[in-house]
Each structure stands twice: as C-alpha cells, then as structure tokens.
C-alpha cells in the first residue's frame, strides 16, 4: 500500500543510482548544537558547514566528544540543531516537527548502532519484517537478509545469534525499506576484527549495489580508505575533509 512519503524524492528500483557528487543529498549551514547537561552547557557542534553528495560513502573520524554522533543524529532526524539549517534534498530538517521527523525516518533513513537493538522477541526475519510492514516500497525480508549473508539463520531469535550476526540483522533491518541514507554509529565497535569486516562488507555492498548514501562513524582510521569521503571532526567542527579518488576494497585495508 503506497503511503505519502514527504521527504522522498522520485526513486524506484529500476532507475540507476545518481552518480557521486552529482548533487548534494545533505547541505548543512551553520549547524550548532548546545546541550544542557544539568547546569553545564555542552557545545557539541559549533557551526558545521557541509555538503554530502548523493550515493557517497562517508566516514566520520574523530575523538570522543568531537560531535560525530550528534551530527549523525541530526542527519537522521533523531535530533534537531540549536541553530543553522540541515537541508535534506532541499527540505529543512531543522524546522521540521516531531511528526515530520518521524515520517522522514520512516521512509528515508536506516540506522545501525553499536548495540544492535534488535527486538529480542522477534526472529531475524521478523525483525526485518517489522520495517517492511510499514515501508512503502520495501524489499522482502528474505532479500534484505540475503544482502547481509544471513540466509540460513533467518528464523533464529536474537538470543540464538552471534554478535556479528545480530549486527547484520540490524543492517538488513535498516536497508530493507530501501532508505535514502544509511547511518551507522560505530557499527563494529562491539565486534572482533573478523566479524567487523563481514559487517563492513555488508555496508559497502549496500552502498555499491543500491546506491544508498552511507555515513559511518568509527574510531578506526583504517576503515577510512574504504570511503569516498572522510570527515575528521574535532571539538564540534570539521577539522579536515578529504576525498578518496579510489576506494580500497575491504580486504586490502590494514587494521
């Protein structure tokens, strides 16, 4: 059943993904975020100016407290900036209502967190179906789980899956709705190296095959070489930004 998707641009499975840098999916102007933690003011973002092109894989690096997660949450509609504007395909998320942000997340955004946040009472397939039931043009849960190589364990409950498997279910759940953007906050933070690579491969594959714009937060600078663009954050600002002419395949990354 098609639903209204306020933040959705024209998009269908048949159309080829837009080429990188052809247009910006996100444009941020003077974005600041000030948290009040009790009696202390925390300046998490201090005036970010940024353009992220459609279809790119961006990696955000930086020490703890540099503002990576705050930026990602604002991009994903989980949080709104204190000042500035965040344009998603021309629509300002900074002034969107709670209801509009929910609709934006519902149709346009897939999230993956360090802790997988699967629903323990639902199987892998059902966790994905949770999203496909409410999305307008989803994959089937089986297709989504196939993309992360979780075919045979599809009917297991989270308690019966390893950490890497759980994280791959979380990725499948995030991409099953064919989101415009996939936002990953330390997706490999709780995993060992080998498992982490499998998870990153899945993310890479989604960016390549579906053309989904992806942003990944990590502490691991080695991962940066797999990205189109690397943002290095410090103290609430983008300290450095670089574009990789060629992306290294994951197997060539040195950890």
């Amino acid at each position: 059943m098609p639903r209204q998707r306020p933040y959705d641009s024209s998009r269908s499975g048949a159309e080829p993904p837009p080429s990188p840098a052809s247009s910006a999916i996100f444009s941020l102007y003077g974005v600041t975020k000030v948290y009040r933690m009790g009696e202390v003011e925390v300046h998490a973002l201090r005036g970010i100016e940024l353009e992220l092109p459609e279809g790119e894989l961006t990696v955000l690096l930086g020490p703890s407290g540099s503002g990576k997660s705050t930026l990602l949450n604002i991009l994903g509609g989980l949080d709104v900036p204190t000042a500035g504007s965040v344009l998603f395909r021309g629509r300002d998320l900074a002034t969107a209502s709670e209801r509009e942000l929910t609709e934006y997340r519902r149709s346009g955004v897939g999230f993956v967190f360090q802790f997988y946040n699967l629903i323990p009472s639902l199987t892998a397939r059902e966790n994905v179906a949770l999203v496909t039931e409410i999305a307008a043009d989803p994959m089937t849960p089986e297709e989504a789980l196939e993309m992360v190589d979780l075919g045979p364990r599809i009917d297991h409950f989270p308690a019966q899956l390893s950490g890497g498997e759980q994280q791959r279910v979380a990725i499948a759940r995030a991409i099953a709705k064919r989101p415009d953007v996939l936002l990953c906050d330390e997706p490999t933070g709780a995993l060992d190296i080998a498992t982490g690579i499998v998870v990153l491969e899945a993310i890479d594959r989604i960016n390549n095959e579906l053309g989904t714009t992806v942003a990944v937060i990590t502490h691991n600078a080695a991962i940066a070489d797999m990205a189109d663009r690397v943002l290095i954050m410090a103290d609430g600002l983008i300290a450095d930004q670089r574009v990789n002419e060629t992306r290294k395949p994951l197997t060539e990354l040195s950890w």
């Binding site: 989980l78 323990p120 639902l122 949770l130």
Partner: protein, 788 residues
C-alpha cells in the same frame, strides 16, 4: 545518613508513583483488616460487657399460659441457676401523628419496682416506672428516637380491644433487644415496632395472666448441659402450650449480632488476604525489575566491598519502606473507617455505649499481615541481588530468550503483525507474572461484582417477597384464631376490596432423630394475594396432602419430597399426625411450612377459622380502614406492604450507597495498582525496544500499541475471569451466611457486571494515559547509545 540509605531514598523517589500505587493497595488491605478487627473486638467487648452487666438470659421459651407454681419446678432442673417468668404480649400501638398503626411488644417488669434479675434494662433517660401506676411504661430508645418522644410522652396501646393510654416515663435499652426486628420483617423499622416495659400486674390482668406467665427466661450454671435443660423445660411447658425453648444462640437479637460479628471476622481474613496478596505480587515484580536495572550498581557495590548481607538489607528496605507507608496509612484510615462504621452500627444495634476499642493487638496483626506480604514480595528479588556474581553483573545481559507462542504454533503467525507478535511473546515469556496480573485485575472486577450483586440480591428478595408472594396491601394478624365471622367482618370494613383468610399454627416437625419448631401456614389454592412462590417467582400450589417446606428446613430435617414427616401441632387439641413432605420451596427469610388451608383446618379439627388475613384495599380509604383496624379488639398486628418497602428503601439508600462506593474505591485502588505497575514495568523493560522502533520511524501511536496492547490483552482476559471470580466469591459468601433465619438469593444483574467492567476499563484507561505520556517523552538517543 549512610550512603546506601541515601541511595534508597533517592531511588524510591524515582519510582514514587509506583511506590504510592503499591502502598495504596497495601493500605487498603491493612485498613480493611484494622476496620474489621477493630469493629469485631469493639462489638464483641460491648456485647460481652452488656450481656454480663445486664444479666442477659441463656434460654428463652414461650408458652400459652403456665401457672406461676411451675417456676419452682423449672428452677429444679439441673443446671438452672435462675428463672424469670414474665408476661409478654404483642399489641397494636396508636402513635400520635402516625396514620398507620405500629406494633408493640409489652414486656412485664417486677411489681416490686426492683430491677429484673435477668434481662435487666439500661435506663438512658427519665426514671424507672412506679409499679403502683399501671399506665407508666419504659420504651426502647430506637422507638422513642424515631418518634421524637420525650419522657412524659404518651402512646396508645390497643390491649385486648381496649385503648389504653400509656405514659413513657423512661427511655431504656435491653440486652434482649440489641437488634429489634418484628417477626417476619427483613430490616428493623423502629418507627413501626417498639418495645414497652410495664408493671406485671396491669399487664397480666389485661391478658388474663394473673397467677401465671407466658414467657420464661433462664440463666444457667457454668458448665450446664444446655440441650438437656431445654429438653426438660420443653417437657414441663408442653402441657401448658409450650412452643419450644430456644438457646441464646437462636435468640433473634443475639443471632443478628452474632452474624454481623461472624461477617466481620470473615472480612478481616478474606479482604486483607486479597489486597496484601496483590501488594506482595506488585512489590515482587517492581523489586525484581529494580534489581535487574541496578545490575551494574550491585556489581559495583560488591566490587567496592559491600557484603551480601548489606545488599540484602538494602533491597529488603525498599520493600519495607513501601510497606511501612502502606501500613501507617492503612492503620490510620482503618481506625477512621472503624469509627465511622461504629456510628452506623449504632443505628441498627442498640447499645448503651459503643466505643471504639483500640487494641495494639489489631495493629500488630495488621503489621504481621503487611510484613508477611512485604517479605513474600521481597524475597525473590533480594535473592537475585545477592546471588549475582560481580564480574558477570558488569557485563551486559545477553538478549532474553524467546520462543514462538503456542497460539502461533497452533494457528500460524501469518495473520499477526510483528508488533502483535511482540505483545504475544512478551506475555507468554513471563506466564506466571501475566497470570498474576490477570488475577489481580480480576479481583478488582470481582470486588465490584460482589458489591453490586449484594444490591441485586436484596432487590430480588423484594421482588419475590412483595411483587410475587405477598401481593396484598395490608396483612392483619389476630391475637388468637377467630371464627369464620371475622372473615366477613373484615370484608365489610371500609376500603377492603378483597380478603384472603390466613391460618397459621405453631407445630413441631419431626423426621427421624431431627425436629424443628415452625409455624405451619395454611394457604388457599389459587390464592391471589398471599402466595407461595419458588425461587423464580412462579406460584406453587399448596398440596392437598402433605407439607411444603422451605428448602433450608428440609435440609435441616434431612428430608426430601416423598419422605415421611411427623407433625405435632402445638396449640388447641395438639393433634399429632404422620404425613409426607410434598415438596420444597426456596425462600429467603426464616423457615416456613405450608399446607393447603382446608387440609390444615381438618388437621386442627376446626371449621373455617383464621388467624389473620391478607387484604387488598382501595388506597383512597386507607386512613379510615387503618383507624378502624386500630380499634378492632381481635387485631394484634397490622402490616402495611408499602411501609415495609419504604423502610427497606430508606435503609438501602442510607447504607448501601456508602458501602458500594467504598467497595468501588477499593476496587479502583487494586485495578489501578496492578495495571499501572504492569504498564510501568513493561515500559522499563521495553524502553529500548520501543526507542529502536521510534528510530526506525514507527509513530508514537504505533509503539503505544505494543505497550498498551499488552495491558489491553491482560485486561480483556481479566474481565471474564473477574466475573467468574465474583460469582464464586459471592456464592461462597452467601452459602457461608446461609442460616435458618436468613438467606440471600444469588443474583447478579447485568448492571453489576457493567459497573465492574467500566471500573476496570476506566482504571486501565487512566493507567494507559499516564504511561503514554512517558512514552511520548522517550529519549531515543540516550536509550540507544547505552547498553542495557
């Protein structure tokens, strides 16, 4: 303050609304215990003191007329300590300003002017009678108050056809009439029934009792064989028209008081058990959750060197603090309720003084009750905290294990949305908790059902008694059986539309070793006014042969329809016949035996005699009719159906509403306590899941469905369970109170069920609204960035 104590205070403040909800459930249980026990001991103490100080007799008997010399023989019965003979008579009273006649009971006092040695009176106001002045009487306080009399006021008694003006010189109370109710009445009606005490001589001469008596009361030696005394007394009185002695246990006023005491005793056990059981369950669920949430804190404390004992004590204190609040509130409100209820008791029980008997024993009992609940509630959770090894506790808990539910395995899951599966699997993962939640909500429903059904039972009795069985407007009873001429006299009185004769005779029914004293009522076939009806209100025709018995009487005699029965009439020629039990009737007040009126008259070897009549009247002429009846010598009593119904309804309006509101309040406390806590626990357990769903783009309403759907499922299942539970509790309560004097029909109207359903749903809705507000302020980022 020690740091753990500080932690306790702050943590408790954090869950204050849940703590208050639990404390209220606990307070309700404690309050009901303190109230019921407090009233029980207050009433019991008052009763015992009153009985002792005013020498309440132990055996009572009526006789037609026995010579005074028999008293000496009675005194010689082994075990008899004291004998009191009296003249007692039922008369019609003409009270100034009251159109309808009242009934009065005249009781003789010693002519010496001294206090009676048994069944003494408490003189509230005025003075004792002067035995040389025959018009002076003492009256019971309820009657005096109902009419606003003062000492010096007068009332007219129709004594053997002659109107005698009596002067009330004193207002009294008697241990014999703590609860004063006219024969065959359902509730006390002090306006229309009064007890008057007067000197013996004038009373005896008016009723032809000079040198004799018609009432005897005995005090027994300690350890006397009561049954043996009664058997011997009956043998002595029988030749003089004795109708069987009764022990104190069956004395009407005493019986009512005892049944109230019994009710309080049961209440003090059952209601607190329900409430404190629910409170224990809630405490347990909340504490287990607290321990789960504080897993890492516990590990940290252990790592810092806090021992198991300190931690166990810390979590016991959680339970203890909530219990302490509940107990204090409960004890105080229990005392308050008790005092209120004692005031109400004073309207129905006439005691010189009914003081609240504060007893530390009751408070300690309440403490034991609530402490027990607290311990049961705390025990599992505390054990969980103590057993947790610190290293393990530092690690996050693995995801909980789930399975497909039985429903899904049986019927497939295709038709279930993912959120519905979450609800179903969450419920089936903790079946005991879900079951207990359902039981808790069901109890709330059941409490309302039983309260409402009590009203329904009373309505049903009214309907059966007055719409279907006694359809007359006026019931007239005679001093003694009258000739057929009386029937025609009644028919000629102004305003009488129809007359149905009634003939009642005292008799002893014997079946094997069992026997009972009862009035046999002669009923006409095709009667239109005074009829016998079954429990469904259908008229039963009296049998040509045999006797129709109240079901409870048949049970006490251990007979069934068709069984032989010996009937020994206790008046007139005292015939004894062998007959059969023709059938049984389910009735609710007293015990009755019915025969066809012609058959009864043949048994008595009489013509068309009548001992009373049922009248249908033209209400426009009621006043004239009543004033004529007041002056008719033969008439001992005039009962007005409408007056009985009115009295009944005032009684109901006054008390039942308060009673029902209280019950409703308690039910709301329990329903809200259970549902709100269930909701809060679910929210705490699932906030991570719900936040994940919000991040995925689920709308507020959609995640509310998962949380509130669980509550709704519990509530919906609990409603039918609650109705069944209510039915069961009611059936148990009614059968426990079923006696030969009084029974209640088990009727539950759809209204009672309706009120119960609305109460539970409203409590659920309020809980849902409160929790939903919290759901709307869920901090998505904070929840997801922290591990559980």
């Amino acid at each position: 303050m020690r740091m753990l104590t500080r932690k306790l205070v702050r943590d408790l403040w954090g869950i204050r609304s849940q703590a208050i909800a639990i404390a209220l459930v606990m307070a309700s249980g404690v309050a009901l215990f303190v109230m019921a026990r407090g009233n029980f001991s207050s009433l019991r103490l008052t009763q015992q003191t009153y009985y002792r100080d005013y020498h309440f007799a132990e055996v009572f008997a009526n006789v037609k007329r026995a010579p005074q010399r028999l008293a000496a023989e009675i005194e010689r019965i082994p075990g008899v300590r004291q004998v009191q003979t009296r003249t007692v008579a039922e008369v019609v009273l003409d009270v100034p300003g009251m159109e309808q006649p009242a009934r009065g009971r005249l009781v003789s006092l010693p002519d010496s002017g001294e206090r009676p040695e048994l069944n003494d009176l408490y003189l509230r106001r005025g003075r004792w009678i002067d035995p040389t002045r025959p018009e002076e009487v003492l009256a019971n306080e309820a009657f005096v108050e109902a009419h606003g009399f003062e000492p010096g006021g007068t009332v007219t008694a129709v004594i053997n056809g002659r109107r005698r003006e009596l002067e009330i010189v004193g207002v009294v109370m008697s241990p014999e009439f703590v609860y004063t109710i006219g024969a065959g009445e359902l509730f006390p009606d002090p306006r229309r029934y009064g007890i008057l005490w007067m000197a013996r001589k004038p009373l005896a001469s008016a009723f032809d009792m000079e040198g004799g008596f018609n009432d005897v009361a005995l005090a027994l030696d300690p350890g006397a064989q009561e049954a043996e005394v009664i058997a011997r007394l009956d043998r002595l009185l029988e030749p003089y028209g004795g109708v069987g002695a009764v022990p104190r246990a069956l004395q009407l006023s005493h019986w009512y008081l005892e049944s109230e005491l019994g009710g309080l005793e049961t209440m003090a056990l059952v209601m607190p058990t329900i409430f404190l059981g629910v409170a224990a369950f809630l405490l347990n669920v909340v504490l287990r959750r607290i321990v789960a949430v504080q897993r890492e804190q516990i590990a940290q404390l252990k790592a810092l060197g806090y021992g198991n004992r300190a931690l166990a004590w810390h979590y016991l204190q959680w339970s203890g603090s909530i219990t302490a609040i509940g107990t204090v509130v409960g004890v105080l409100s229990g005392i308050w309720l008790s005092v209120q209820m004692l005031d109400m008791y004073m309207l129905y029980f006439e005691f010189p003084e009914l003081r609240y008997d504060f007893s530390w024993a009751n408070v300690l009992g309440a403490l034991a009750f609530s402490g027990g609940a607290a311990a049961i509630g705390a025990i599992g959770a505390v054990r969980g905290a103590v057993r947790l090894p610190p290293a393990e506790a530092m690690r996050p808990q693995p995801p909980a294990s789930y399975r497909r539910t039985l429903i899904e395995r049986l019927f497939g899951a295709r038709w279930l949305s993912q959120p519905s599966r979450i609800i179903l699997r969450n419920l089936s993962r903790t079946p005991v908790r879900a079951g207990l939640s359902i039981l808790g909500i069901a109890f709330a429903c059941a409490i309302v059902v039983t309260g409402g059904a009590m009203m329904d039972s009373i309505d049903e009795i009214l309907r059966l008694q007055f719409d279907l069985a006694q359809r007359q407007d006026v019931t007239v009873t005679f001093f003694e059986p009258a000739s057929p001429a009386a029937y025609y006299e009644l028919a000629r009185l102004p305003g009488v539309v129809d007359v149905e004769p009634m003939r009642t005779t005292p008799a002893r029914l014997t079946a094997g070793p069992r026997s009972r004293q009862v009035g046999i009522t002669g009923v006409a076939r095709n009667a239109q006014l005074q009829r016998v009806v079954d429990a469904r209100g259908r008229p039963i025709e009296p049998p040509i042969d045999g006797v129709l018995l109240s079901k409870v009487l048949a049970e006490r005699l251990a007979v069934e329809p068709g069984d032989p029965l010996e009937v020994a009439v206790l008046e007139g020629r005292r015939p004894v016949v062998e007959t059969v039990v023709a059938g049984t009737v389910e009735d609710f007040v007293g015990t009755a035996a019915y025969m066809e009126i012609g058959a009864l008259r043949r048994l008595l070897r009489e013509g068309a005699t009548l001992s009373g009549a049922a009248l249908l009247i033209d209400s426009a002429q009621q006043e004239r009719l009543l004033s004529r009846l007041k002056e008719t010598p033969l008439v001992a009593g005039v009962g007005l159906e409408q007056a009985v119904i009115d009295n009944f309804e005032t009684y109901l309006a006054d008390n039942m509403t308060t009673f029902l509101l209280a019950q409703l309040g308690f039910a709301v406390v329990i329903a809200f306590g259970v549902i709100y806590n269930t909701a809060r626990i679910s929210l705490s357990e699932r906030n991570r899941e719900l936040a994940s769903l919000r991040v995925m783009g689920f709308r507020r309403g959609e995640i509310a469905y998962i949380l509130l759907g669980e509550l709704a499922a519990l509530t919906v299942v609990a409603l039918p369970v609650g109705m069944l539970l209510g039915y069961g509790m009611l059936a148990a309560a009614l059968s426990a109170f079923e006696t030969e004097l009084y029974r209640m029909p088990l009727v539950i109207s759809s209204q009672a069920f309706g009120v119960a359903i609305v109460t539970v749903l409203a409590s659920a809705a309020i809980s849902a609204l409160v929790v939903r507000r919290r759901l709307n302020t869920l901090d998505l980022v904070a929840v997801l960035k922290t591990r559980e």
